[in-house]
């Protein structure tokens, strides 16, 4: 009975238009855009999709999602339950409200250990707020198990997984013994979208709420500090190419590029 653990977190919607993206430079935090709801981090629902595809082939699998964050993270866990995940664990403790990636990894690793038997841990290649991409690898090191990063396909076969990785140019197939960690990339494909019936069923599924005391650990130290957060100015002086017709615009742009010795 394979047991797959997926790490999911919640983030501000990464498709928020640039014009609505604002930061509080003093608090060093992003100001949520009005009316834009937080969403599950994109690569994490893709990791859940990867787990569900394994379950499609191995129906006796159990999938647990683990999420560390404040109250509203429960929505993200519920979303994953509606996708078809079996159970959720919500680590919700004010002591780790400002956990950095390494404190997060310590808590997630402790959660995996408490859950006990597991065959596969799946994480996103990076979270889509801070884009760091370290938690999966750090957890693997803490647990002392192998890691394969940036997967586009995962085939589970009991004592091993076969993972197709995305390289900058091309792909690579890697085998790793289980248990291991795999981080997942968007090339795996779209995550399935919960149907109404599944959303209703998810309401009945269990979400365990654990604190650090339940894990038997104290709050890990942060290893980094964010000293400044700001919105960089990337705007340039733009010339809108004028013209009555496409022909005129095409000729003008070609002329500009030629004048600038770019073509």
């Amino acid at each position: 009975m394979p047991h797959i653990i997926c790490f999911v977190k919640q983030v501000p919607d990464p498709e928020t238009p640039a014009s609505q993206f604002k930061v509080d430079e003093d608090a060093k935090k992003v100001i949520p855009a009005p009316g834009v709801q937080p969403v599950p981090s994109q690569f994490d629902t893709i990791a859940v999709e990867a787990a569900l595809r394994i379950k499609d082939n191995h129906p006796d699998s159990t999938i647990t999602v683990v999420s560390l964050g404040p109250d509203q993270f429960r929505d993200t866990i519920k979303h994953c339950l509606a996708m078809g995940v079996d159970e959720g664990v919500h680590i919700n403790d004010p002591a780790v409200n400002d956990a950095d990636h390494w404190a997060t990894a310590e808590v997630l690793a402790a959660t995996v250990q408490k859950l006990g038997d597991y065959d596969l841990v799946l994480a996103g290649r990076q979270s889509v707020d801070w884009d760091m991409g370290v938690v999966g690898s750090t957890v693997a090191e803490i647990l002392g198990i192998p890691i394969v990063t940036i997967a586009k396909q995962i085939d589970y076969a009991g004592d091993k997984v076969t993972v197709e990785r995305v390289l900058l140019d091309g792909f690579e197939t890697v085998e790793a013994p289980t248990p291991c960690v795999v981080t997942v990339s968007n090339e795996l494909g779209e995550p399935r979208y919960p149907q109404l019936r599944q959303i209703m069923q998810a309401a009945k599924k269990e979400v365990k709420a654990w604190t650090l005391a339940d894990l038997g650990i104290s709050a890990p130290q942060n290893r980094v500090n964010i000293e400044a957060l700001y919105v960089p100015d990337t705007s340039v002086e733009t010339e809108v190419i004028e013209g009555e017709t496409a022909q005129e615009k095409a000729a003008t742009l070609a002329q500009r590029l030629s004048d600038a010795k770019l073509i």
């Binding site: 498709e15 928020t16 993206f21 930061v23 992003v30 990636h101 990894a105 990076q126 889509v128 884009d131 760091m132 991409g133 370290v134 690898s137 090191e141 803490i142 192998p146 890691i147 995305v166 390289l167 140019d169 091309g170 792909f171 690579e172 197939t173 890697v174 085998e175 291991c180 990339s185 968007n186 090339e187 130290q221 290893r223 980094v224 500090n225 964010i226 400044a228 957060l229 919105v231 960089p232 990337t234 705007s235 340039v236 002086e237 733009t238 010339e239 190419i241 496409a246 615009k249 095409a250 000729a251 742009l253 070609a254 002329q255 500009r256 590029l257 030629s258 600038a260 770019l262 073509i263």
Partner: protein
Amino acid sequence: MPNGVLIFGEATEDGKLVAITAELSGAAAALGGPVTCALLGSGVEGVAEEAGQYGAEKVILVDDPILKDYQGDAYLPVAERIAKEIDPAVILFGQTMIGRDLAPRLAQRLGTAVAMDCVALSMEGDKLLAERPAYGGAARARYTFNGTPQIATVRVKALDAPAASGSAEVVKQDAGVSADQVRTTITGRTKPESTGIRLEDATVVVSGGRGLGGPEAFQQLEELAGVLGGAVGASRAVCDLGWYPVAAQVGLTGKMVTPDLYIAIGISGASQHMAGISSVKNIASVNKDADASIFKASRWAVVHDWKEFMPLFLEEVKKVKAG
């Protein structure tokens, strides 16, 4: 006291020095040095000397068949041993396939942290200030560390490479890794057949987005790129839809490109896409939506349906090229 900067240089599998080595050397020297460059691989001895020409005092060469194809389990013990022996204040990797995978694991082994994908680095006393984009490039964050070594990966082409000068002492070391330490096995590789100029090296990139409506349109982009001696790129939306190969994806999770001219067609300009062209000065974009955010970063903006514009533009470019 930890001192100096350790960088991890890179060589290609056919034994050429990767440009990031020089970029990291320059960055490390600017932080105050002294710079040690570690070079791991198989058949890389030939570039050890070259790796030392960009500001390093010493090159630690570990040339061993077990390091041929990158595998974290093989590289990590070597990196850990070198880091402990050098005891640097700062360690730098490139934000490459290797750096992405290895740096976070090394950080955990050393009980420290790593700031990934940095675009600016400086020292304030003995503190590294590591600046990196976040929120897909919509924000910038500056990090400091609570311990040492302070590790950063540096975005490819974000920092200028110094010119080659000087030379370094080359010290050879054994990998000292046994096959049973490597728990993973690479069983296959597929590389896209290289068609013409590499995206990373192109001086002109013609890139297409979801606005092109389908894969067919890329023929026109290829034709334009051909006339301009450039390469074709794509947005993630396009690659996810299977309209164009994944290897052409430009952006945060794709390639960083630095052409002199980037022509964006039917691309909206999401921050994650713009992350891949953040140091491009000349962007010309074609989009039918006058409010598309790509225009804010563009030197030239064409508000038009690409279908009508492109064939005419191709003819105009051909005229210019013909003189």
